[in-house]
């Protein structure tokens, strides 16, 4: 958004303050000449003045930094008096004072540590040549960018603004889809979840306000893509790590995504959305330091699917409803002392779908799958800054996911729950050094039942974690972070320690290098674990080297990584009936990725280009050799362009994502994972039109070119009479997806809108 140079200089022609002081003295002197008593007084005054002059001390000198460069604008003064001055452009200063005896001279400058010296003042000139040491300034200091991609408004090292997540064409308001335009990710079109650097979707852990979210993606059936359950307009920013992340996060081999909810909203408002797929309403109420937001939405794809031809054989189109409430309260004043905030957030939803899934080699409609999902997530989190550099945060969260599935005639019920509690204390010992200590407790339980047969299996695991992380700034250019996360699982009967380390160095040209390394553990997915509950952790080791440069509305990021996998889960037989489950697999992923974002070169246009190369092989699941996993295409790229047309009051967007194709296993050929699909490509277009500031009309279309993307092939479980396995491609739900929505905001401030919903 370009506000342009609408804010000119304010400095300048302010009305002058009258010089009344001098005219008064003039009157006094004039007046005195006609009055003898006044004359004496005047003489006395002069005498006094000259006496004072004799007691004056001249203090002068130069203020420099440790390299000898001048520090202009430093404040030099005698403590407890008005006597003082500022250093000039060459660091020189001088002033006189009437104070005598031992006095404290204070020297202060922005960006430097203050100094105080005692000098004895007796009328003899005092020379002070002072070296000021640089102060650590969190605002401009180096930050660790290895593996990390932040979105937010405040920090400089961000790659995305919160708004970008939702105005990215093709993302359709889905946070995950927007993140898939960033380096290090792979689009897997028949799944919809986050795949990071050769890792599968379960290797990414997702957090809201620091607390883990279970089943963050909607339940779905195989090969029907899902989306993130949480609306993008809940969040003010995110921290997405593609590896080498902090000791604060664990139980994820590849990646952590931390989403931070909004603090206090600005105003009372009601938001109406009317979409081609459904509608919703959100009401926000704000009073002083408190806020309440409540929303309800309903979506149903049936009307859309009756108009647009679908490739899937739906018996009942997906429909869902959700409702959420969020409460926030803050206290204190951050500058003057203790302050903090408490947030409570509750989300509940339900969804339904029924689909026929064709079986390769079979001419019928295939398997009938019906899915009813009920999901609840709730968390209460707090943060509090105390005195003496203490900062506390933490909370409680519960995720509850229930899937009732009908597979042909079988009724299956799956129940997954995660309880997470966390308390963290951070202490700033000095501007250079801070130490973070956290305790976490998890209860994870899972059960699955064949309802008609009354058969059930389940497990409950208690996990206890401690993490400690120290951050040390050697200077504003060099920072080092070291951490250790330890954990214990009651079910796996295993205790583990995972060290993490990172360092970053800032160069002269605003660019910086970071390096991160660490060990990561993750227990096996619940569907396998429930069959064999004593399975221990899989492990990964990351090494990441990153270069990051932000300058003048351009961002460049390059990263090289190496990731080593150990103890990956393996089994024999089909995935639906695994046998001999063990942790015998291993593998690696290595590669480089690039990201360039430019808001400057083309007027009113913001674009970014991403390229990721991943070379990954692993022995996992039922594979007997190391293979390139189907979810790790070698070459991945994306281009996102946003162009604002003021005359049309519209934001035009396009995004293109591409990869070199997905590997798949063809049982008709010797070996494993021998084949690869053709390249994947999707070009999306969108337009957001603001006829009034509080009304937005958004229209988007994915895969405009109608390319028939294939994500792999399914094969019959048995060969036919000719001895070959029949196959069918796994493709898209429809060639294109068209979305239209009208978003209206009702508030006193007529300019408020829902740009965040796009």
């Amino acid at each position: 958004m370009h506000f342009g140079p609408l804010f000119p200089q304010f400095i300048g022609p302010f009305p002058k303050f009258g010089n009344g002081e001098f005219s008064c003295i003039y009157i006094l002197l004039n007046f005195g000449s006609n009055n003898s008593r006044m004359k004496i007084f005047t003489i006395l005054l002069f005498l006094f003045a000259s006496l004072a002059a004799m007691g004056q001390t001249l203090i002068s000198g130069r203020i420099t930094d440790q390299k000898g460069a001048a520090i202009p604008g430093a404040n030099v003064y005698i403590k407890g008096t008005y006597d003082g001055t500022s250093s000039d452009a060459t660091g020189l200063f001088s002033f006189t004072t009437d104070e005598a005896g031992a006095q404290l001279v204070s020297i202060q400058a922005i960006g430097f540590k203050s100094q105080e010296l005692t000098r004895n003042l007796n009328g003899d000139a005092v020379t002070l040549n002072i070296l000021l040491a640089e102060a650590i300034n969190q605002l401009n200091a180096v930050t660790i960018t290895a593996g990390a991609m932040e979105s937010g408004d405040e920090k400089k090292s961000v790659v995305l603004k919160p708004l970008d997540i939702v105005t990215t064409s093709g993302a359709m308001g889905n946070i995950t889809a927007a993140l898939l335009t960033l380096p290090g990710t792979s689009t897997v079109g028949n799944d919809g979840r986050l795949f990071v650097r050769g890792g599968d979707a379960s290797e990414t852990a997702i957090y809201i306000d620091g607390l883990q979210v279970g089943n963050a993606f909607g339940s779905t059936t195989s090969n029907v893509p899902t989306r993130n359950r949480f609306s993008a307009n809940l969040f003010k920013g995110s921290f997405f790590s593609t590896g080498g992340y902090s000791a604060e996060y664990g139980q994820a081999l590849s990646s952590a995504l931390a989403l931070n909810t909004l603090d206090l909203p600005l105003r009372n408002q009601g938001d109406v959305s009317i979409m081609s797929l459904g509608g919703g309403y959100t009401q926000t109420l704000v009073k002083n330091d408190r806020a309440l937001t409540a929303s309800a939405n309903y979506y149903n794809l049936a009307p859309y699917q009756s108009l647009v031809k679908q490739n899937f054989d739906w018996e009942q189109a997906p429909s869902s409803w959700d409702s959420e409430i969020s409460l926030r309260r803050k206290w204190g004043n951050a500058v003057t002392g203790k302050s903090g905030m408490i947030k409570a957030y509750f989300h509940t939803e339900g969804s339904h779908m029924a689909i026929w899934q064709k079986i390769p080699g079979d001419s019928g409609r295939g398997d009938f799958v019906k899915l009813n999902n009920r999901y609840h997530y709730g968390n209460v989190s707090f943060k509090h800054s105390g005195n003496k550099g203490w900062f506390f945060y933490g909370g409680l969260a519960l995720s509850h996911n229930k899937d009732a599935i009908r597979l042909n005639t079988d009724h299956i019920r799956q129940l997954n729950q995660i309880f997470h509690s966390k308390i963290v204390a951070v202490k700033d010992f000095s501007p250079q050094f801070s130490l973070k200590n956290g305790l976490e407790f998890f209860t994870k339980s899972y059960s699955e039942a064949l309802v008609d047969e009354n058969r059930e299996r389940q497990f409950t695991d208690h996990q206890f974690n401690h993490f400690v992380e120290g951050t040390y700034y050697f200077s504003n250019r060099l920072v080092m972070v070291g951490g250790l996360r330890s954990g214990h699982s009651s079910l796996a009967r295993q205790t583990w320690f995972t060290p993490r380390f990172s360092v970053a160095y800032k160069l002269d040209n605003q660019g910086q290098f970071s390096f991160a390394a660490g060990k990561f553990k993750q227990l096996v997915e619940e569907k396998l674990r429930v069959r064999q509950t004593d399975l221990k952790n899989s492990a990964a080791t990351h090494y990441i080297l990153n270069y990051f440069l932000v300058n003048n509305n351009r961002t460049f990021r390059a990263e090289a990584f190496y990731k080593n996998y150990d103890n990956l889960v393996t089994y024999s037989g089909p995935a639906s009936e695994p046998r001999n489950i063990a942790l015998n697999g291993s593998g690696y992923a290595k590669g480089v990725d690039f990201f360039l974002r430019d808001k400057k070169t083309i007027k009113d246009t913001d674009f970014w280009v991403t390229y990721s190369f991943v070379d990954s092989k692993r022995r996992f699941a039922a594979y007997e050799t190391k293979v390139q996993p189907t979810f790790a295409p070698k070459h991945n790229g994306s281009v996102v362009v946003k162009h604002f047309v003021t005359a049309m009051k519209s934001l035009l967007g396009t995004s293109w994502s591409w990869n070199s194709g997905y590997t798949y296993n063809d049982p008709n050929m010797p070996g494993e994972m021998q084949r690869k699909t053709k390249a994947y490509s999707d070009l999306s277009l969108s337009i957001s039109y603001l006829p009034k500031p509080n009304v937005i009309l958004h229209v988007a279309c994915s895969n405009v070119l109608g390319r028939q993307n294939v994500f792999g092939y399914q094969y019959a479980s048995q060969p036919d009479e000719a001895g070959s396995y029949a196959s069918r491609p796994v493709g898209q739900a429809a060639s294109r997806f068209l979305f239209a929505g009208l978003f209206i905001t009702i508030s006193k401030d007529k300019k408020a809108n829902q740009l965040n919903n796009l």
Partner: protein
């Protein structure tokens, strides 16, 4: 005639003694406020910020020196010659001072207007990427200041400037912005500037209101 002279004399002496009663705090403040309103360069603004810092340290209960120190840093943050990093550094300082002033004098429209001014300067430092996220908070803060004191001419003039920029961005009418500018100018005209200055309350902003009113013509 002599009597008249005596009365005049007496009158003069009273005025003089009233002047002489200015505390060192008031004297220092008046001198520095005059300097700040005249300053037009970064070094002078920094000198001004330093001087108010010295006054604030000696008078920890007064909000005015902290307010003016914050204002001096805000003016620096608007200087085009500074890099974004440097602007953010001085504006972070300004923000801190505005909050400190707020803690010293609660519900003070002048201080809330300054908080909005600091936010507006932050927006201005990188309008392309901060416009969307900060324009709401800026308008909201000015709104808060106007609610506390509907006749605060600085809150009105700053609102006018912000509304003007928004209207131009959305291609909508500038009537609202110009209304605020006019109102601000009228209040400036009706105020006794010297009396306000003597009471050490903020008086700056008239030229901004004049400029906004001019843009509206």
């Amino acid at each position: 005639m002599k009597k008249l002279a005596q009365i005049t004399m007496l009158f003069l002496v009273t005025t003089l003694s009233a002047f002489a009663q200015d505390t060192p705090y008031q004297k220092a403040m008046k001198k520095e406020v005059a300097k700040l309103t005249e300053s037009d360069s970064l070094p002078v603004l920094q000198q001004s910020a330093n001087a108010f810092g010295r006054i604030a340290e000696l008078n920890p209960g007064e909000w005015q020196p902290v307010y003016y120190q914050g204002l001096a840093y805000t003016f620096q943050g608007l200087d085009k010659s500074l890099s974004l990093d440097k602007k953010d550094e001085v504006l972070a300082k300004a923000d801190e001072l505005a909050q400190k002033a707020d803690a010293l004098s609660k519900n003070n429209a002048e201080i809330v207007a300054l908080q909005g001014f600091v936010l507006m300067a932050k927006l201005n430092a990188d309008a392309a990427s901060r416009g969307q996220s900060l324009s709401g908070p800026v308008l909201q803060t000015f709104g808060k200041a106007r609610a506390m004191d509907p006749k605060n001419p600085r809150a009105l003039a700053l609102t006018a400037q912000m509304e003007y920029g928004m209207a131009r961005f959305f291609g909508s009418g500038t009537e609202k912005a110009c209304g605020y500018a006019k109102e601000s100018l009228a209040i400036f005209a009706s105020q006794d500037e010297q009396a306000l200055k003597a009471a050490l309350v903020p008086t700056w902003g008239k030229s901004l209101a004049e400029k906004m009113a001019k843009s509206c013509q």
